[in-house]
């Protein structure tokens, strides 16, 4: 629509301008006193961001959160893919589990937190369990979709040539469901980080979410906002990275579709 914006340099400039506009708006609202006095200005948050960068406590907390999210995510991926391929390829199981899976997937796992804390305490194990429970559903549901979508011709070929179950699982079912699995795994990666931070906010489990709550309670609002900024940045970076990997790994699929 606007020819100048199709040039990357202009686009970058316009994007920076948009960010600057938002920041300016924030600063104006804060200095005008429209928001409660706790909300920090841009300069405070910026300096808090810079000091956080050299703060080992911050990096440690962020690392703990990411490790817990990673562990929960990996458990969810393995369990979700194996269960999903099984359920999706066996009609009977698919029918039997559908209500249970719908229930599980609409269950706000963070509501279970007090129960899980009672059972496991405010530990990293508890955090990993809650993350895995939350991140499981997208992988599971997507894998079931993928496994269900077997083309009739492929299914017939497998039957006619009496392809053994193991080989069928590995070379037919898995690649066929792969694009769906990839989407599920990508979605659950975002959920893992969100939930890991959420768990730390509610419970006393150590990590960046806990730090945000602590800083807020200590009235260090600029640091709290800086940490919030970093968690958003990390989640965003991971989302973009995984999208790139997915595009690259699944090029064969895209070409087939075109």
């Amino acid at each position: 629509m606007n020819p100048t914006l199709s040039r990357p340099a202009w686009l970058l400039l316009a994007r920076l301008g948009a960010v600057a506009l938002i920041l300016a708006l924030w600063q104006t609202v804060v200095s005008a006193g429209l928001l409660p006095s706790m909300v920090p200005g841009i300069a405070d948050v910026a300096s808090a961001i810079v000091t956080s960068l050299s703060n080992p406590l911050f990096w440690g907390a962020l690392g703990r959160t990411l490790l817990a999210a990673l562990a929960g995510w990996m458990i969810a991926t393995v369990v979700g893919v194996v269960l999903g391929l099984l359920i999706g390829s066996i009609r009977f199981l698919d029918r039997s589990t559908s209500i249970l899976i719908d229930f599980g997937r609409s269950f706000p796992v963070l509501a279970l937190m007090p129960v899980v804390i009672m059972l496991l305490g405010s530990t990293t194990t508890m955090e990993i369990v809650v993350v895995a429970l939350s991140a499981l559903w997208p992988v599971l549901v997507q894998t079931i979709y993928g496994a269900r979508r077997q083309e009739a011709a492929v299914a017939d070929t497998v039957a006619v040539f009496r392809i053994p179950a193991g080989l069928r699982f590995r070379r037919v079912l898995l690649p066929g469901a792969m694009p769906f699995i990839a989407t599920g795994v990508r979605i659950s990666s975002a959920i893992s980080i969100l939930v890991a931070v959420g768990v730390e906010v509610i419970s006393q489990a150590p990590g960046i979410g806990r730090q945000i709550t602590l800083m807020q309670q200590n009235q260090q609002w600029d640091v709290a906002f800086a940490y919030l900024f970093f968690t958003g940045l990390v989640g965003w970076g991971i989302a973009v990275g995984l999208q790139k990997i997915e595009d690259k790994l699944l090029t064969w699929k895209r070409q087939m579709n075109d």
């Binding site: 629509m1 914006l5 990357p8 686009l11 970058l12 316009a14 994007r15 301008g17 928001l35 409660p36 706790m38 909300v39 009609r91 698919d94 029918r95 039997s96 559908s98 209500i99 249970l100 719908d102 229930f103 997937r105 609409s106 706000p108 796992v109 509501a111 007090p114 129960v115 009672m118 997208p138 599971l140 549901v141 979709y145 269900r148 979508r149 077997q150 009739a152 299914a155 017939d156 039957a159 989407t183 599920g184 990508r186 980080i193 959420g198 906010v201 509610i202 945000i212 709550t213 807020q216 609002w221 709290a224 940490y227 919030l228 968690t231 958003g232 940045l233 989640g235 989302a239 973009v240």
Partner: protein
């Protein structure tokens, strides 16, 4: 934010939004929706063909289908009942105790008041998110250059953990109902926005040109052309936003609150009323499930024309 050089292709927002919408695992786009239910219709029997399956085996009766889809739930509940009945762990009460606690508090109004408080927060927050998300999404979907400029900002905000916002927003604006609604609205806003943009981008180019050639006035164009065309995608966005909203609702009441379902769960666990804690968590799960079932039901009715148009 200088690293904000996400891919600059025009369909940028759209493709990413597609990923978001599948948050619940369901496929919102027309093509895949067709595909997913197509797979269901074809029987999906790996050993038989599409044609062979019905001949070899009669389709199950309604009762048989009901039995098939419910037996596992019965088994799970019975197992839970039997296994937890012998539990000596203080933190794992028997299912009987949990249900008794649920029954007592449901009838004496403790839960009902909390549920009303929680759900009104949820619905107001969601309504704000729908109005703002759809409004802004329609504009961003139509105005390409603006969409490309703000795309990185949208994705950054979408990635901010909603739960981490709770202490900040409540700490800043107080523990009233308003800040809770605001947090829910903020969390639900992004998936609805991204899906609306995606839906607007999916409007048939021919229809778009047609409206332009006939100089259909802008308000009419938005109301009668873009909005209906984007509606399936918008509804999919709200479906994704609903569980997010429920989660934020519970978290916002666990953080600093004296009311609501989240408070009921947290308070009972803090006072070691273990069956009540389990009952509250179970109830939130059931409420979440019922809301999503109701939503799908409403979606079927609202989008009847869409399913009837062969998009199935």
């Amino acid at each position: 934010m200088t690293s904000a050089t996400a891919p600059a292709s025009p369909g940028d927002v759209g493709t990413q939004a597609n990923g978001t919408t599948s948050g619940t695992g369901s496929q919102p786009s027309r093509a895949s929706r067709r595909g997913a239910s197509g797979g269901r219709a074809s029987g999906g029997r790996a050993s038989g063909g599409r044609q062979a399956a019905p001949r070899r085996k009669k389709p199950p009766t309604a009762a048989g289908q009901l039995l098939q889809s419910t037996w596992l739930i019965v088994v799970v509940l019975v197992l839970w009942w039997v296994l937890s009945a012998r539990s000596t762990n203080f933190f794992i009460p028997s299912l009987q105790q949990i249900l008794e606690a649920l029954g007592t508090d449901l009838t004496n109004g403790v839960i009902a008041g909390g549920a009303l408080y929680s759900l009104s927060n949820l619905f107001v927050g969601l309504a704000i998110a729908v109005v703002l998300g759809v409004g802004l999404g329609l504009v961003l979907g139509e105005v390409g250059w603006l969409r490309r400029v703000v795309d990185p900002v949208i994705h950054f905000f979408r990635c901010i953990p909603q739960a981490a916002l709770v202490p900040l927003i409540i700490g800043t604006f107080g523990i009233g109902q308003g800040p809770k609604m605001g947090t829910i609205a903020f969390a639900c806003f992004w998936p609805i926005l991204l899906n609306t943009i995606d839906g607007v981008l999916g409007v048939e180019p021919t229809v778009r040109h047609f409206s332009k050639v006939y100089r259909v006035p802008k308000p009419l164009y938005f109301r009668r052309v873009v909005l209906p065309a984007a509606l399936p995608q918008i509804v999919a966005g709200v479906r994704v936003a609903l569980p997010i909203g429920i989660t934020v609702m519970v978290v916002s009441e666990m953080f600093a609150s004296t009311e609501g379902l989240g408070f009921y769960i947290l308070n009972s666990s803090a006072t070691f009323q273990v069956p009540q804690t389990w009952a509250g968590a179970l109830l939130v799960g059931v409420v979440g499930y019922l809301l999503s079932v109701l939503f799908v039901f409403a979606e079927r009715r609202l989008l009847r024309w869409y399913y009837a148009s062969g998009a199935k």
